[in-house]
């Protein structure tokens, strides 16, 4: 029996292997021209015990129900289609108009979906965030205030109000992760949106200082986001988008000072992926 693993079809002939494969949580890592962070995102999910497959969008469009073979959907970072027009815009339209109904159903079924960096930009532009039910864009992520690409580590404050996001359970109130983007400035369509997001506990991360206060100036606020917003989820808490890269801090070694968490070899990023995998078990 042929199964697609690691992006390549391989032959699984062993019954035990097959049974294990069927039992595991399966993650679809969507890739297209210009996706860059697919390998490390795949690795992060596999480290958490899932089977993660890098799937090209053409395959998904060809077989529109394929998405339902998986439990989790991840949109990794990169420059999809070169970020021509605007970051993530072309992939967002492709997903919305060719697979919109399927992805909406997948989200409303409660399956975890994560959009990291370019993935977050795609979620924003196809309207899967903040409300997957209506698939309409209501905020954007645009050019940083510094006018430059920014690759640096930031502190993130987890919102204290009872957070519904399944991806950040057991995450402490202050963590650090790297960002790397030139279009990460969060701008809502109007102020009302911020009120709604706050009321529904949809704001997950804000850029902050070492002491957990909201970061008001560059560089700890790397892009000038309104409300210093770095990550959002839907009201159900299963669809999560964030500009920082959790997949770049799954090992303590990846931290600039090799900082360990809970005294083991992992980083905060791993916990984020672990949450989703455990949620589906």
């Amino acid at each position: 029996m042929y199964f697609p693993i690691f992006g390549v079809e391989i032959l699984i002939y062993d019954d035990i292997l097959l049974r294990n494969y069927m039992k595991k949580i399966k993650v679809l890592i969507l890739r297209t021209a210009g996706t860059n962070c697919d390998y490390e995102t795949q690795f992060a999910f596999e480290l958490c015990g899932a089977i993660a497959e890098r799937i090209h969008i053409n395959l998904l469009i060809e077989n529109r129900n394929k998405i339902f073979d998986y439990n989790i959907l991840a949109l990794p970072g990169g420059f999809s289609y070169g970020d021509d027009i605007a970051s993530g815009k072309i992939l967002a339209n492709e997903l919305k108009y060719k697979l919109g109904d399927k992805i909406k159903k997948f989200a409303l079924n409660g399956n975890p979906i994560i959009g990291i960096c370019n993935g977050f930009q795609v979620l924003s532009k196809m309207g899967l965030l903040p409300n997957p039910k209506i698939l309409k864009q209501s905020f954007t992520l645009t050019y940083n205030d510094s006018g430059k690409f920014e690759c640096r580590w930031v502190y993130l404050k987890k919102e204290k109000v009872k957070n519904c996001c399944i991806w950040v359970r057991n995450i402490p109130n202050l963590i650090s992760l790297p960002v790397a983007h030139s279009e990460g400035k969060f701008i809502p369509i109007n102020n009302k949106l911020i009120d709604i997001l706050t009321k529904k506990n949809q704001i997950v991360f804000r850029y902050s200082t070492k002491n957990g206060n909201v970061a008001l100036s560059y560089p700890l606020s790397p892009n000038g986001s309104v409300g210093q917003i770095a990550g959002l989820c839907n009201d159900n808490g299963n669809v999560f988008g964030l500009m920082p890269h959790p997949e770049r801090y799954i090992f303590a070694l990846q931290h600039p000072a090799k900082a360990k968490i809970n005294n083991d070899e992992y980083g905060w990023g791993k916990l984020i992926f672990q949450n989703a995998v455990d949620f589906m078990k």
């Binding site: 390549v8 210009g34 962070c37 690795f43 420059f79 070169g82 920014e150 650090s176 070694l253």
Partner: protein, 807 residues
């Protein structure tokens, strides 16, 4: 089939031309062929009794270009070296083979798996995998069009990595630039040239946009500023990739098919190879610069590696300089090939056959496919929207045949194309200058402080964070020692080297790859041997500083020189190449690949602008355990600071003498025996976790090195200059000790509890404790003996170093 002229392809009546006309002809067609070469071509066509077509001449011009065949460095050179009126003469039949390559052969190291033959050098990573490394120059294109030239520089070197063996997966990139002083006044810029700020902005943005979009972290680099680069900026781009050892060899047989994948062919980049082999002037054709598209290359990368793992092809190479003509020409050297040019996908109609054949349009790879995989490989590329087209096949005729719409346009012997280029004798000479020690430099404390501030704010020394943060140096998640070292998120400084931990590709490994470089063009203005030796030593020092084992380091050379047709300029290159051989042997570090960019000259209104000689050495090392690495910022108060190595009166070509406008001074020598043993011991102490931080002394000497460690950590430091070991003893002034750029020195930080073990390892070597880290916002350099005390707030000095650079 007979060759006859068709629309778009002319027969050139070469056989009737006189010597003078041949020379004229080469120039008017932009062939960059010398008279000797034109005569050789004429005699070949006389032998086969016909005139050549334009496409045949273009093929030869590309293949025989300096860029493709490196004919200066592999040609015959008669070299004269003069010192104190005495002459030594030596004849090189092939400079590369007798210096750089010879060292590699003689060292015969196990780690070298494929050197000097493929698109990149390949060294062992572990028993199954290997690492490919290549550094290219892209100077001529960047001189004409900074953004596009630099972008395609990074694109080109990534394709080199994709084109090594059956293709390696790129995991990191490097970029090194040489610009003119950014603060230069407008009136000092030659008419018609751009301001260095504009050039620098274009080049940095070009590398940033291409590198970020293709998803390869740029993790190591250097930037050097000197007015010698006013119209000839230099751009070096490097890339490393990981390849399974069983995929290193290419195989090609008659009957295999030629597949071209990726971008379409257009008129951009026509004559790139020949134009980069000559001096530039204001008439230089900007069409020779290619247009890059990183996403197309990323798509190729994604599918190609998938096809590689499925065994769908047998060989691959990139379309770089010379386009299809050199890619297919090189692959088919042993067999022969027939290519149907009308099948090549083009961007627009109207291209003449020879333009299709030599265009350097970017993002194209040539793949060799066995007939049985014909359909499968097309399918896999098309699935991800990558264009793939069969354009010909390999034959056993040992001839290159080009067809266009059923007409034969070229039919030449491979032997003639590749082996028959004439080898003229070139002459070279070098006069070794006598260096004299400068008058003793005695400065007061306030003068030293003022100077330190100037040095810290100098473009060559100041923080390069403004460049580094624009590169996504952490994409792929494997950069565990980043280009900016820091103990916290807020504070960092650029480190000596970076480490890649390729965990997503090599599963369950603990090994890592260290990348560093060495570059000292200031020394080369006086002595190119010492420049080359220092660059090699500096690259090793940088790698060792983060924890590399010198036994597992390999290096690459990049020569950028002026017009080597002049014997003195060629002589300075040979003198540097001799240093490469000597140092490679002395440190037991092999060269694995290299590249030269000669003729970096530009003419404006008959004024000649030539670059000072530059040798970039890029080092790659394998480390066994990525957890056993250190960074350069100071770690903790009260830890002791040691200097390893000897400080000598070597201020020639230093940053200090540049500022004080002192002409004399000894250029730093490499005392390799001393330096090598210190490097080995540092590796030992790092693997035993005995040192907390480590930084090498280079530009600006001890004073700058200590300051940088302090800035990167925000920790104050107190240094006692009297304790620094000098040679000859007590012969240096405080200023000289602080700013001498002697090679082979490191600053390390040791915890008090490790001091005993640390000293035991360095027993019998030259080292001394020079100070400690303090819990105050100050940097202090003190000499009780000379009653000097240089003291300044750390934050004040740091502001000089972190000066604002607005591009």
């Amino acid at each position: 089939m007979i060759i006859k002229s068709i629309v778009g392809c002319k027969i050139i009546k070469l056989l009737n031309l006189s010597y003078k006309q041949l020379n004229e002809f080469s120039r008017s067609m932009n062939l960059s062929l010398s008279l000797l070469e034109m005569i050789k071509i004429k005699s070949y066509f006389k032998k086969i009794a016909r005139n050549p077509t334009d496409i045949e001449l273009e093929t030869i011009a590309q293949t025989w270009s300096e860029h493709c065949k490196h004919k200066t460095l592999t040609g015959i050179i008669k070299y004269t070296e003069k010192k104190n009126g005495r002459k030594k003469i030596r004849v090189f039949n092939n400079l590369l083979k007798e210096t750089i390559f010879r060292a590699t052969i003689e060292l015969n190291k196990k780690q070298c798996l494929s050197v000097f033959k493929d698109n990149a050098g390949v060294v062992e990573f572990d028993h199954k995998n290997a690492v490919a490394f290549k550094v290219e120059t892209h100077n001529h294109p960047a001189a004409l069009e900074p953004y596009g030239g630099a972008a395609t520089g990074i694109g080109g070197v990534v394709r080199d990595i994709l084109g090594v063996g059956l293709g390696a997966k790129p995991v990191a990139a490097t970029s090194v630039f040489c610009f003119a002083n950014l603060d230069i006044k407008k009136s000092q810029i030659p008419t018609g040239a751009c301001h260095p700020k504009r050039i620098a902005k274009g080049i940095i943005s070009g590398v940033r946009d291409y590198g970020n979009k293709i998803g390869i972290p740029i993790v190591n680099g250097a930037t050097c500023f000197d007015d010698g680069y006013i119209v000839n900026p230099l751009v070096f781009c490097g890339a490393i990739g990981i390849i399974p050892q069983k995929r290193i060899e290419k195989k090609i047989c008659a009957g295999d098919l030629i597949l071209i994948v990726g971008g379409k062919t257009g008129r951009d980049g026509v004559h790139g190879a020949t134009f980069s082999s000559i001096n530039l002037d204001q008439q230089s054709n900007i069409n020779a610069v290619q247009i890059g598209n990183p996403i197309v290359e990323k798509k190729i990368l994604d599918v190609m590696l998938k096809a590689r793992d499925l065994n769908f092809y047998k060989a691959v190479t990139d379309c770089g300089a010379g386009g299809l003509s050199s890619a297919i020409g090189e692959l088919a050297e042993q067999t022969g090939a027939v290519v149907y040019l009308d099948k090549v996908p083009v961007k627009y109609s109207g291209l003449r056959p020879w333009e299709i054949w030599i265009s350097e349009s970017q993002e194209r790879m040539v793949i060799v496919v066995e007939r049985k995989n014909k359909k499968k490989i097309i399918k896999i590329f098309n699935e991800e929207n990558v264009e793939a087209t069969f354009i010909g096949e390999f034959t056993n005729s040992k001839k290159l045949v080009l067809m266009y719409k059923n007409n034969m346009l070229a039919n030449m012997d491979m032997f003639f194309i590749h082996k028959d280029l004439p080898k003229p004798v070139r002459y070279a000479s070098y006069t070794i200058k006598n260096e004299q020690v400068q008058e003793p430099i005695k400065l007061h404390s306030f003068e030293i402080l003022k100077l330190l501030k100037y040095l810290l704010a100098d473009l060559n020394i100041c923080s390069k964070e403004w460049i580094i943060r624009q590169y996504d140096h952490e994409v792929q998640g494997q950069t565990i020692i980043k280009p900016l070292h820091g103990n916290t998120i807020e504070t960092s400084g650029h480190g000596d080297a970076s480490v890649i931990f390729p965990y997503t590709i090599v599963k369950a490994t603990k090994k890592g790859i260290v990348l560093s470089n060495g570059l000292n063009p200031r020394y080369g203005k006086i002595n190119t041997y010492k420049m080359a030796a220092s660059a090699i030593e500096e690259s090793l020092r940088n790698a060792v500083s983060v924890g590399a084992d010198i036994d597992k380091i390999s290096i690459l050379d990049n020569f950028c020189w002026g017009d080597t047709d002049k014997s003195k300029i060629l002589g300075s290159l040979i003198y540097a190449a001799k240093a490469c051989y000597d140092m490679s042997k002395a440190f037991c570090v092999p060269f694995i690949s290299g590249k030269d960019s000669l003729h970096n000259e530009y003419f404006i209104d008959k004024n000649k602008y030539s670059i000072p000689p530059v040798l970039l050495i890029s080092a790659i090392g394998i480390i066994n355990d990525v957890t056993k690495t250190v960074t350069m910022p100071f770690k903790k108060e009260n830890n002791k600071i040691y200097i390893l190595g000897v400080t000598r009166n070597e201020l020639g070509g230093s940053m200090f003498t540049k500022f004080k406008n002192i002409k004399n001074g000894i250029i730093p020598v490499v005392y390799y025996a001393e330096s090598k043993i210190i490097m080995k011991k540092i590796y030992e102490t790092i693997s035993k976790n005995l040192i907390e931080s480590c930084h090498d002394c280079s530009d600006g000497g001890l004073a700058v090195a200590v300051s940088e460690m302090s800035f990167a950590s925000n920790k104050g430091v107190k240094i006692n200059i009297d304790t620094v070991k000098t040679e000859p003893k007590d012969s240096l002034t405080v200023t000289e000790i602080m700013f001498s750029e002697s090679n082979g020195r490191f600053i390390v930080e040791v915890k008090p509890e490790n001091e005993f073990k640390f000293k035991k390892i360095f027993k019998n070597l030259i080292f001394s404790e020079i100070g400690y880290i303090i819990n105050e916002d100050v940097i202090i350099f003190e000499s009780k003996k000379h009653k000097l005390k240089v003291k300044e707030k750390l934050s004040v000095l740091s502001n000089f170093w972190r000066r604002n650079i607005n591009l």
